[in-house]
């Protein structure tokens, strides 16, 4: 009797544990499976990275007009265009052939876009890209400008050109025995000549029918990739269509160098870039009396930077410290409205909280001697500044 009762209870438990087939539920599962299959997520990959930089700067600016008394102004600021940036980067790849990059950026003054392009990895050593991208000139703008990469708090003056533009391009890197070489070429809308002779990024609206060619070739002569030497060039028309500067053309040349090597316990990081901008002869209009004047429209910019970090030191705090020194020179055309000889020295001490999070302390001293055409409305004199930066930057 007890045995029969026990068997009966066990049979009921087993029966209760068996899944009952609910046709409505199965239909619903089938519909969901179909919806998931239609979305084909296996080939799509989306992620968000980016960078944020926030800082404080205290400045003292002393202006001495030629033959006049000096005037000094002290300011301090929490974050401005050079010290504040929030740039999320949206990356989406389709398989391993297509990559879409979109990087909006808020710099404290405006909301802009740094990158908005699509890349097709066509073959080994050949990537084709189109859209809005940083032009391949030098190494700073494309590789070193991010706050969590740059060793000092501010950008070197004069390296912003040729900047970002709309167009198409090809790039790639290839081995060459023990060495390696790379190319990066683009065809874009081009730059714009302003009435005072300055060159600027043309922006969204193309200002003429001509296109600009920009390119950089680089050689890494050592098998450990420690040294990279790059040569850059740009050629294009810069005049607005229908303007008085119809035949205005610009050529840019650049030379850059990067050397990174550990000599235990010190990691030495050398970076340098020299660039030159030439605009062919043009007559400009004086804002003061509307008469014509001209000048040799050549601009040069250069920076050289060294940083050292005891990466293999035993002390945890010591090995996260990095000491950086940078020299900047920026020479704009004499006799123009914006002519100056500018020098800057920066010394910085960085502390790396993680591989992509840094606190930077930088002291910068600048000296600018005006070579501007005063009769045309330029401002003469000497300007000296000393700046103290405290900056935090992170890649997320």
């Amino acid at each position: 009797m007890v045995f029969t009762l026990g068997f009966s209870i066990s049979a009921n438990i087993v029966k209760a544990q068996q899944p009952s087939v609910d046709s409505a539920l199965m239909d619903r599962v089938s519909t969901l499976e179909q919806q998931i299959a239609d979305q084909k997520p296996g080939e799509s990959h989306f992620m968000v990275v980016g960078l944020a930089t926030f800082g404080f700067v205290q400045s003292k600016t002393t202006y001495t007009p030629f033959g006049g008394p000096s005037q000094s102004v002290k300011t301090n600021s929490l974050g401005d265009a050079d010290r504040y940036e929030l740039s999320p980067m949206l990356l989406w790849r389709h398989g391993t052939k297509f990559l879409v990059e979109f990087e909006p950026s808020f710099d404290g003054n405006s909301l802009g876009v740094n990158w908005a392009n699509i890349t097709y990895f066509a073959a080994p050593g050949l990537a084709i890209h189109a859209g809005y991208f940083v032009l391949p000139f030098g190494i700073y703008n494309k590789r070193l400008a991010a706050g969590w990469i740059d060793k000092v708090a501010s950008d070197p003056v004069g390296v912003d050109l040729p900047g970002t533009d709309f167009g198409i391009g090809v790039s790639g890197g290839m081995p060459l025995g023990n060495m390696k070489w790379s190319y990066d070429l683009s065809l874009t809308n081009g730059l714009q000549l302003l009435p005072d002779g300055e060159i600027q990024n043309a922006g969204i609206v193309d200002n003429n029918r001509n296109k600009t060619v920009t390119g950089r070739f680089a050689l890494l002569p050592f098998s450990n990739s420690s040294l990279e030497i790059g040569l850059s060039g740009l050629y294009g028309c810069v005049a607005d269509a229908g303007s008085n500067y119809n035949n205005a053309k610009t050529t840019m040349y650049g030379l850059d160098l990067s050397y990174v090597k550990t000599f235990k316990p010190i990691l030495i990081n050398l970076k340098g870039q020299y660039s030159r901008i030439n605009v062919n002869g043009q007559n400009y209009i004086k804002p003061t009396d509307s008469s014509a004047y001209t000048f040799d429209n050549k601009t040069t910019s250069a920076f050289a930077q060294i940083s050292i970090r005891p990466v293999t030191a035993g002390n945890k705090i010591l090995k996260n410290l990095e000491l950086a020194f940078r020299y900047v020179n920026f020479t704009t055309p004499g006799n123009s409205l914006w002519g100056q000889n500018y020098d800057e020295e920066d010394i910085g001490l960085d502390y790396w909280l993680t591989w992509r999070t840094v606190i930077k302390f930088t002291y910068a001293k600048t000296h600018s001697f005006s070579t501007a055409n005063v009769s045309a409305g330029g401002v003469g004199g000497v300007t000296d500044t000393s700046n103290i930066y405290l900056q935090f930057s992170i890649q997320f």
């Binding site: 990959h45 990275v49 050593g125 990469i149 450990n224 420690s226």
Partner: protein, 91 residues
């Protein structure tokens, strides 16, 4: 006529440069020493050219594949370098 000649010359130069580029690309081979390099070695050598070497646990497997493509466009890594570095970071 002058404009026509200069434009014709430009196209000839572009075609010539393109041909030269393709020829060089086809002749590019790596030495045995370079071919034998491991993912960790390439990770250490190439990432620090611009920034600190990233920790492998910073991103997921799928994200590292995306970042590998992104970094290839920035630093002009070779395809083999990218593949080896990503394989190391995702293992």
């Amino acid at each position: 006529m002058k404009t026509f000649n200069s434009r014709k010359m430009s196209w000839v130069m572009i075609f010539g440069l393109g041909t030269l580029l393709v020829s060089i690309m086809n002749s590019c081979v790596e030495s045995k020493k370079v071919a034998a390099k491991s993912g960790p070695q390439l990770w250490a050598e190439n990432c620090q050219r611009c920034h600190n070497t990233p920790s492998p646990n910073s991103f997921s497997h799928e994200q590292w594949v995306t970042i590998g493509m992104h970094m290839q466009t920035r630093a002009q890594l070779t395809d083999k370098e990218r593949d080896k570095i990503v394989a190391f970071l995702t293992q």
